[in-house]
Point group: C2
Chain length 134, copies 2
DNA sequence: ATTAAAATATACTCAACGGGTATAGTTTTG
DNA sequence: CAAAACTATACCCGTTGAGTATATTTTAAT
């Protein structure tokens, strides 16, 4: 029950870019050094943030990455979902077929976990990267 | 970011026993059939619940499992922790050494995740198995 | 046009974990 | 003592996590 390392690196990369406030390109090497992230791993993670519209990139000399949106419009949930996909506390909340009692009218455990999952999502959605800037 | 299958089975086994309200022993075979849990896997999971003091067992003819406490005194968190161990949203919340920026005075991301983790724990702690009984 | 600096795409590795199964043993009661 | 139960330990095997390697493409400066 936790976020993975890639997501943790993603948080830190986004926070680092948020400090620049979209003014300039920052290359992977710089992010990697400041945030202590293995560079090849970082380079694999970044495209996920780009596909999610959180970050933009520029190739070639002088290129790098920058935030694509205002820090206050990027939530922790955005980053988690960009890297790990949607959050499901229990796999039966992803697909009912996973429930071995599948067909049982409504599972009380299932519903309770769903409530907690919704709470978790909304809490991650409330925190944005502007709040995280000192 | 989810609970594992063993924990889901654990929830269901405990809920099933809660319905019996500690009055009698229920053997693994019966739980396995009613809750559609592979019996050998169930037999591996149960000792975790026993070590946590949630369930008690009796060997021999007529034996089986029963709740060791009142259903209202068993929370979802109790079962999660019995089977998966403590909840850590991020591994740096388990041990600071996992933070590659280890030594950074205080990480804002770390602190925010901790808040959310505490919320999640308390929410899982609030729901007990008496509530889950129809 | 060429070169160098960047990101991108794809594939690979390797250990750990998830989800189970198998075998052998112990306790209890009849 | 035999049968019914739980217990302990060890194995299996596919997937995921975390990261590395190689080759390619885009871009800007010269």
């Amino acid at each position: 029950m936790n976020i993975n390392q890639a997501t943790d690196y993603g948080f830190r990369a986004v926070l680092y870019l948020a400090q620049k406030d979209g003014r300039e390109w920052t290359d992977a090497h710089t992010i990697s050094e400041h945030e202590v992230i293995p560079i090849r791993f970082l380079l694999k993670i970044m495209p996920n943030l780009i596909r999610a519209g959180i970050v933009k990139s520029q190739r070639g000399i002088g290129g790098g990455y920058a935030l694509a949106r205002n820090p206050k419009d990027v939530s922790l949930l955005d980053v988690v979902e960009a890297i790990e996909g949607p959050i499901y506390l229990n796999r039966c909340l992803e697909n009912e077929d996973y429930c071995s009692k599948h067909g049982a009218p409504v599972c009380k455990i299932h519903r309770t976990l769903e409530e907690i999952q919704d709470l978790l999502s909304s809490e991650l959605g409330r925190r944005n990267f502007a709040d995280l800037l000192d």
